[in-house]
Amino acid sequence: MEFFRISRTIPFLRYSRILNAISIISFVIAVGALFGRGLNLSIEFTGGTVMEIAYPQAADLEKIRHAIEGKGWGEFQVQSFGTSRDVLVRLPVRQGLSAGQQAEQVMAVLKAQEAGVELRRVEFVGPAVGAELAHDGTLAMLLVCAGIMTYLAFRFEWKFAVAAILANLHDVVLVVGLFALFQWEFSVPTLAALLAVLGYSVNESVIIFDRVREHFRTMRKASVTEVIDSAITATISRTMITHGSTLAMTLSILVFGGPALHSFALALSIGIALSVFSSIFVAAAIAMYLGVKREDLVKPIKKEDPTQQIVP
């Protein structure tokens, strides 16, 4: 079995303009959604109380909302969680009331409606902790970017470093934008997933760049575009299979992992799917626009060092 029966170089970069236009448009939409709608941050970031409640049969969300409304605690959310029998209630931080007290009061009202309800989980986060998490998360993101860029600049060349990091930030921004657009919950595991995507999708670009460097050495007469096209063509089979495997895993977490891992798996799946696209069309195209030349990568009069010869 061989999926990718490619006999000639596919001119990927020929489509790069249209695809880059799509990229830019979706990027703008993502940023717009991010600023316009904002992220649906989990209470880990905002502070507040979350209760997970299990009903013996399908729960009537309207009745629950009505019951909690009577408390006059301000903005709250009631949504089903995983199944129709599981309900997630989010409450704002309330001065003078601890999470336990809030939960007890809510449970008292709900028990009056339906005796069989069961409190499965209560989570409370103070506002200070949330602010700190957001700060640490942003810092982690910046440090990962800086670390990866330094590594790529050292391993390849600054143009590739810039191209790779832009391509992967593009992935991250699109994922975050989707989370904002659809108001999926953005939790701490989601943040971890984003950082994992960042690390993972850069290695995709690394593999293509490795090939680009190798083909610059071997294809002496070819133009820059031809070299990049042939490098992508040579790696496409491995790219699709690897990503397919990783996606199989993240989709499996999405399907079987339950609601607690839902947003984590979602962010990973989207991020991994996007990273295929971005490393082929975005990273390589940006590298081309930045004007990579054969001289940037192939140092003249240098004996071929076996460790330098990198191929996928």
Binding site: V188, I207, S237, M249, S252, F256
Partner: protein
């Protein structure tokens, strides 16, 4: 020829053995158990206690699998392993009834627990199952913020009092000592007095940083706590709070509580298995109260001690420790909130003593009461759970102020214990719960099932594809991936990492990413064959060339993992640890182990013409050759 020297096979063998041994305990599961530990420092858990436990079980007709002593750190606990949860409850009740004869004042903590069912020889080899996080086993989690500013403020107040006393003793006249915020301002009438005071303070208060304040127009010294002292105050407040929490949580009978410092001023408390948050919070947040009272020395009072007469009106009967009774008046001289410090020291005759600091208000009251009651006994009572226990009875020798000493103690040990008890009466600094999480036990089980199911489903999908697509090489890749999983779990068990739901997700993700290395190798081998390389050459070239790429592509993932570890906390840290370790084990297994298998299968075959690496489509190139 692709052959590995013998030592490489030995290395692989050792790694496989390591993975197998350390992964194993996780598969035995856990059996219900009852754990007995001592509530009091004076009562030790030892072999005689264990035989009492066994006797209690036998007389109660409760069958048990094993009973033994286990030492964790400095604590010895007795553990009884049982067949099922029903017997677990029966065993708990039987042991409880036999050991704690006084229900209102238990000597031992009898707690339900889960013990690994893995054989003893595995435990002896250090192979223990992974510790499950709260999201997998259920329980409550609190993150508490210690208000160190409050501890500092208390300390400064105490210093103000000390300064007054010291300056008076040294005959230095001052025009007022006030605390404003975190600085203490000492005013003087003239520079002469200020100079003298400066010398006295520098001599006696090493914690203070002194400077003059020329701007105010009058002679003045401004004292602040130096940074080391500030740190020391915050640190000791935190330590004392953790200590107090330990004592209180012990009462809850939680099997394996986690009480840890996090950052400079936070404490994490995790109580696995506890479902009753309200009770847990009640106990954690409880402030034991301390009261000093006069002993009732009247004839009626003394008669009541003997039990011959009823306790007179306005007095109460207590016991000293668990022994002699004593009758105390109900009037409180000072209470725990007014106590600012208690240290074990020595008196003039070098005998052990405890020095006590009170705040100014309590000091004034103490002076009045002590003046009126010289040569009469005074007692200090600790109230916990609504029950008073007299810690010490001392005779008032003189008029006392806000600083005084309890002397005549038997030993330094007694002095230390008393000082600790006095201090532990209240938390050193107030604490506030800033994060709270309760996870029901059924949810924990579900989380484990979901995590394992997700990992297995993904693994099987990848395995089926790899075998179909790459044939024997695919099979080898799957074997390498299995080894990877074993090594990763073995390593995590060895490190006794805490497994959380994000941790399981990280294991799954790591497996999904690790297959990349084998795909790279297999694709490269195919490519070499397509170029017309011989089978043996294709293996050598394929592995060699793929290796640098594998290394390269993993470094970037590792960078992300390391930063995640540095900046994350709790479950995210767990995710990062698994992720980073997974990258390392995957390089080892994908490259080293899979090559070992390939060499074993194909390496020594001289006339190897084909490799089972799936169909190789040569397309136009094949036509050209033909």
């Amino acid at each position: 020829m692709n052959r590995y020297p013998l030592w490489k096979y030995i290395v692989i063998g050792i790694a496989l053995l390591f993975g197998a041994v350390y992964t194993m305990p996780n598969f035995f599961g856990e059996s219900p158990a009852v754990q007995v530990s001592s509530q009091r420092p004076t009562v030790k858990v030892d072999a005689s206690m264990l035989s009492r436990v066994e006797a209690a079980l036998k007389s109660g007709g409760v069958p048990y699998e094993a009973a033994y002593l286990e030492t964790v750190g400095l604590n010895v606990t007795a553990r009884v392993r049982l067949a099922d949860t029903d017997t677990q409850i029966r065993a708990r009740d039987a042991i409880e009834a036999a050991l704690n004869t006084d229900k209102s004042d238990p000597t031992y903590v009898v707690a339900l627990n889960l013990l690994s069912r893995s054989p003893r020889w595995l435990a002896a080899a250090g192979a223990l199952p992974m510790y499950l996080g709260l999201d997998l086993r259920g329980g409550v989690h609190f993150l508490m913020q210690v208000n160190t500013a409050e501890a500092l403020s208390r300390r400064l107040d105490a210093i103000v009092g000390d300064l007054r006393t010291q300056l008076r003793e040294k005959d230095v006249r001052h025009a007022g000592i006030v605390r404003s915020g975190d600085r203490i301002e000492i005013r003087f009438r003239d520079d002469e007095a200020r100079r003298k005071a400066d010398a006295v303070i520098r001599d006696g208060f090493s914690d203070l940083a002194l400077r003059e304040d020329p701007g105010s127009g009058e002679p003045m010294l401004v004292a602040t706590l130096n940074p080391t002292a500030v740190r020391a105050v915050a640190d000791s407040a935190l330590k004392q709070n953790i200590n107090t929490l330990h004592n209180r949580i012990n009462e809850l009978g939680v099997a394996e509580p986690v009480i840890q410092q996090q950052g400079a001023d936070r404490v994490v408390v995790q109580l696995p298995g506890v479902q009753d948050t309200a009770r847990a919070k009640d106990i954690i947040g409880r402030t034991a109260t301390l009261e000093a009272r006069l002993v009732d020395v009247s004839a009626e009072g003394q008669a009541a001690v003997m039990g011959s007469q009823p306790v007179p009106f306005g007095s109460e009967r207590f016991t000293i420790g668990r022994g002699a009774p004593v009758v105390l008046k109900k009037d409180v001289i000072f209470s725990g909130q007014q106590l600012q410090g208690a240290q074990a020291t020595f008196d003039e005759n070098q005998r052990p003593a405890v020095s006590i600091d009170l705040n100014d208000g309590a000091g004034r009251h103490m002076r009045k009461v002590s003046r009126e009651n010289i040569k009469k006994p005074m007692a200090i009572v600790l109230f916990e759970k609504g029950r008073g226990e007299v810690l010490t009875v001392a005779t008032i020798q003189d008029e006392l102020g806000s600083r005084f000493r309890i002397t005549g103690l038997d030993s330094t040990q007694v002095a230390n214990d008393l000082a600790l008890l006095l201090r532990a009466g209240a938390l050193a600094a107030p604490m506030e719960i800033i994060e709270e999480r309760t996870i029901g036990p059924s949810l924990g089980k579900e989380n484990i099932d979901r995590g394992v199911r997700a990992t297995l489903a993904g693994f099987i999908a990848i395995a089926v594809f790899m075998v179909l697509y790459y044939r024997v090489f695919g099979l080898i890749s799957v074997a390498a991936l299995t080894v990877n999983l074993g090594l990763l779990i073995g390593l995590l068990s060895l490190l006794q990492a805490t497994m959380t739901l994000p941790g399981i997700a990280a294991v799954a993700l790591t497996l999904g990413m690790a297959i990349d290395a084998n795909v790279l190798i297999n694709e490269r081998v195919r490519e070499e064959l397509r170029r017309g390389a011989s089978a043996q050459q294709a293996i050598t070239q394929g592995y060699e060339r793929a290796f640098a790429t594998i290394l390269d592509s993993n470094v970037t993932t590792l960078i992300a993992g390391v930063f995640l570890f540095m900046l994350g906390s709790g479950p995210i840290r767990g995710f990062a640890v698994v992720h980073c370790l997974g990258i390392l084990t995957s390089i080892f297994s994908a490259v080293f182990v899979s090559r070992g298998i390939v060499n074993l299968l194909y390496g020594s075959r001289r006339r190897l013409t084909t490799l089972s690496v799936g169909q190789i489509w040569t397309g136009g190139a094949a036509d050209a050759k033909a």
